[in-house]
Structures are given as structure tokens and as C-alpha cells.
Amino acid sequence: MHATANTVDPSEIAKFEAMAAEWWDENGKFKPLHMLNPTRLDYITTQIAAEFGRDTRQPKPFAGLRVLDIGCGGGLLCEPMARLGATVVGADAAGGNIPVARVHAEQSGLDIDYRHTTAEALADAGEQFDVVLNMEVVEHVADPLAYLTACQQLLKPGGLHICSTINRNPKSFLFAIIGAEYVMRWLPKGTHEWDKFITPDELFDLLGNAGLDPLDRMGFVFDKIRWEWSQSPRDLSVNYVTASRKSA
């Protein structure tokens, strides 16, 4: 248990346990996120393995890597990273998520350092990571360039930055409106604003201006017949992800 968790009122713990159960219920209100998770994890693990020369068929392939997940929520990405052997820090600006994520990690027998903080605050404190996961956050921030610059500062030289977001075009507008009840639940921070969405080319420019070298981009597409997500190198029209590196 973390020191801060011990100061929490016991009646609050029961509430956090219930909230953790909610976050982790694959048929509950975060169902769309649970459905997307294996596809996101496929991309993330493949990129990390390639960048750091790790073999994901072996147990604990990410041992020795320090990973930061920004906007960690209930820990849907932190727990897999910890299971893969990485040393994980989960940060969320929504403080309510932190004890919830802690309760679940404890139940899963995983050691994860969850903090109520922001990328900017971590960068100011001089924290350094091999990998920064920045999934579905950039479309929510006021100043994307300042935010991505903080992400760049958090990386060790040669570190890997994985950033996903939503494209800005008529299709994503429809998706974001029609799919709002799904999409808006992905992050508890607030509603998406379509004009804050970023195209892949704009994101590549922003990453470059933040001092990162863009490496790769990939679409996440939802197949309505098979009712599952998959990666698509050609279709980046709605959800997509990028990989970029801080120069060594």
C-alpha cells in the first residue's frame, strides 16, 4: 500500500472498490475502452519491443523500463505494463481515479506508483522515463504544443512516446456526436470538443515542434460486423495512434 492510501477513510475504500469494479467491468460503462484495449496494447507492446529490442513471447519482457501513463484512469494500461515487468507511474489530473486505480492494482497483485499530478508538474520535478504513454489526452488539453513539450522533457534521450487521439474531419465529427455516449465515457475529464481534434499531419508537426522525431502512425478501426477493433495502416479517419522518439 502507498503511504497516501493509508490516510484514506475506510468507508471511502469501499466506495473506491466499487468504482474500481466499475472501471474494470468489461460489460460496464467503460465497455468501449475494454473493447479497444487489446488493439491499443498490441500497438504499444509491439512498438516498445521493437524500440528496446525486447521479446514479448518471454515473461516480463519490459523489465528495467520506466513507463509513464498520462491520464491513467482506472489503470487499464498501467496494469498490463506492470505485468510485462515495467516500472510504472500512472498519472491522472482527475484525483478521484488515483485511489480507485490503487485499489485495483493491489487486488491484482501489482506494484504501480499512481499519482494525482500532471505531465507538466512531473516534467518540472525532473522525472525521466523510457516510455511515455499519452493515450486520448492531447485532444483535451488547452495548449497541445506546451503539453507535448512537457511529454518530450519527461523522456530520457532515445525514449519512446506513444500518443493516440481522434482525427478532425466530417466522419470523426459524426462519430464523436453519434458515438458520444461511448466516446465521452472514455475519459472522465470532460466532453470532447470537435474543433480540438487533431489531424495526423498536424500531430506529426506538433510532435516535431516539441522536439520529437515521428516514427510511425496507425489507425484503430471498429468493425461493426465482427464488433471488434483492429489496427489499420490506411484508415486513420477517426481513432489513430503515433509513435515518436526523443533523439539520443
Binding site: R57, Q58, Q107, G109
Partner: protein, 409 residues
Amino acid sequence: MRFDADILIVGGGLVGSTLGLTLARSGFEVTMIDALPKATRRKKGFDGRSYAMALATSRLYRAIGLWDALAPDAQPINEIKVSDGRPGQPPSPFFLHFDHAEIGPDPMGFMVEDRHARVALLEAESDAKTLTHLPKETVVSQTVVPGGVEVTLASGKTLSAPLLIGCDGRRSGVAERAGIKRIGWDYGQTSLVCAIAHEEPHHGIAHQLFLPAGPLAILPLTQNRVGVVWTEDSNRAAEVQAMDDAGYLDVLRPRFGDFLGEISLAGDRFTYPLNLTIAERFIDDRVALVGDAAHGIHPIAGQGLNAGIRDVGALAEVLVEARGRGEDIGTAPVLRRYQQWRRFDTATLALATDTFNRLFSNDNTALRTVRDLGMGAVNAMPGLRKTFMREASGQSGDLPKLMQGVPLI
């Protein structure tokens, strides 16, 4: 909570220990809970029991590094002859003949004696650092807890892990405690199983003879011996089993024929009542079923063990892949991949063996004519025959990597 292992396996039989070894060799911490003492698993003499391992099954054993220990005592099955006959009469002129040379250089499969398989598995276990074998332990309860499942053993010990696998046979306690119902029926038939020593060489040919009471399989073992699986109506089987060895052989001889010369018993005699029992689901919260616990099929084509080993290959592949993604291996999205993979195959196989048995365990003249013609037709068409052979040697369907001889890690 901190768990005692990554995976708990209930059942230490052939499928359970193969699964335990496969998962341990893939880097998982495995605890295998086995009701029997190890000494029982390590009987020295030949007791008459043997397994028909399809080629694909032998490839899984090769991929987990066990085949070298099994191969010296394994008899290759080079050809399979299927015929339709009545005891005391020559078989019908129509029969099926499968020669491995038609589909490739490898044999169709191998006959491996139970004692050799068990010793090889026990030896391999002692080298597997992440496998713990708990003999003489039974599970009295299982409870899903946050992040995993906890079992209480008869000794009072408790164990927990993210995933519990039931390899505990047709009357699986793991399935029952998880509330998984079963469907199935008894065939009213019993298989008589024994090993026979004979004069003439068998040339690695397996025979499947369809007799009115049920099928008779003659499977080549090493050193001029064959394994015999002989199915009769259950009442008749009980009578035959009660006879002394001489009486038993007197009943067998006319069914068996004289193509191998004089015959004698080369081990103990066993009986297995036949039933079909399929679990309505192969998975539950933190639980997966493997082998007969998931699907006990009619052993007409010797596919029970091979279907169980296919479960092993599929589940190990799903779990290694999930681990590589950092997923919690005991959760529904992961286990559903295993169930989807195996359920279709299993239903097909169970239906096929059931239909086959109903068609062939019958002395109706019309049916007999139809199946004779059917066998003649299959035999005359090389394409169809090759399809049957791929099925029999376990090479059809969505084959797990391990069963193609491809290692997982």
C-alpha cells in the same frame, strides 16, 4: 493480493500434465493439483494401456521437448485399414485404405504405451522449475476473488492464482463448482481394452473393423504386439470381462481374425463405459476447461486424447499471446478466444464420431450396404481419402502453432 502461481491446474492425467509442462516451458508459474500419488503415475510394467497419438500430437510433444523421450518406444502408424465385417465372415470387399505416403513422408501417428508417456512426463516435470506438482491433493472448494480464484484443498491448504484450469475429466469438479452444466448421453456400450502379442509382423498397420456390436480397433505397438479396443453392448462387455483369459481370447479370436497368427494377452484387461459429455461452456470467471472436462467424446476414432492435446496447444498459444500484451490471463476477453477456437472443432468432432458410431454399430442390411458403398466411394476418390487422413492425423482445422511443431517462446 499476491498469488501463489500464475495458473492452477486440477488433474494430473496425461492431458493435465502435458498442459502443466507446456505452460511451464512457456514461462508460467504453474501448480498442478493431482488426486493420485506420484507412485501410481510411475508404474513400471506394461499394463496394456496405450494411446494413438496423431502426428500433430507428436509434434506438440516435440515442440515442448518431450518427443525424444517418447520416440524410442513409439510405434509409427504407417497405414490405416478400415473395413466392415461380421465376426466369422470375411470383411466386405469394400474397405478404406489410408497410406501415409499419400500425404507426406511422416506416419499418420504413433502408438505410445501409457507407462512410457507417464514416465516421460514425470521426468520432464522434475526439470521444469516453474511447475509444482502436488500429488494426493483434491480440491474441496473454489471461489472467485478480486483478481483471481482461490481453491481450498482437502488438506486444508489454500492456493490462489489469476486462472484455474480444470483437466479433471468427464465428471469435472472444476466445471461443477463453476456451475457449468453438461450435455450428453450414454451409448450403452463399453470398450474392452487390452494388449495382444502375436506371431506375424503387423507392418505398422492399424485396423478399424466395424462389427455389428461396435467397432474393433487393432493398433500396432512395438515388438509384435497390438493394442485392441473392442466395443460391445455394455451387458455383453461385462460378461466378457468376467471371463478368464482363455474365455476372453475365445470371444476375441473370431472378431480379430488370424492375419497376425496365434494371439495371447500381453497385459491387463480394462473396460471403459462409453458416453458423450460436453460442457455447455468451456470457460467461466477465472476458469477454463481442457480435455475430457470440456468434451468427453466417443473414442471411436481414437480422437479423445488428440482433441485434449489440441486444447492444450490452443490454450497455451492464447495465454502466451495475452501475456505478451500484458493482459490478465484469467479474464473473459482472453478466455473467450480459447473457447471460440475450440468449441467449433469440438462440436464437429463429437457429432462426427457420434454419427459414425450410430451408422456403423448396426447390423441393418440396408445400412450395411450404404456404408459399404460409402467406404468404396471414399476409397476410390483420392481427394476425399486425403481429407480423411488429414483429419485422422490431426492436421485439419485451425491448428495451434505447437501442433505444427512451432515453439511458442
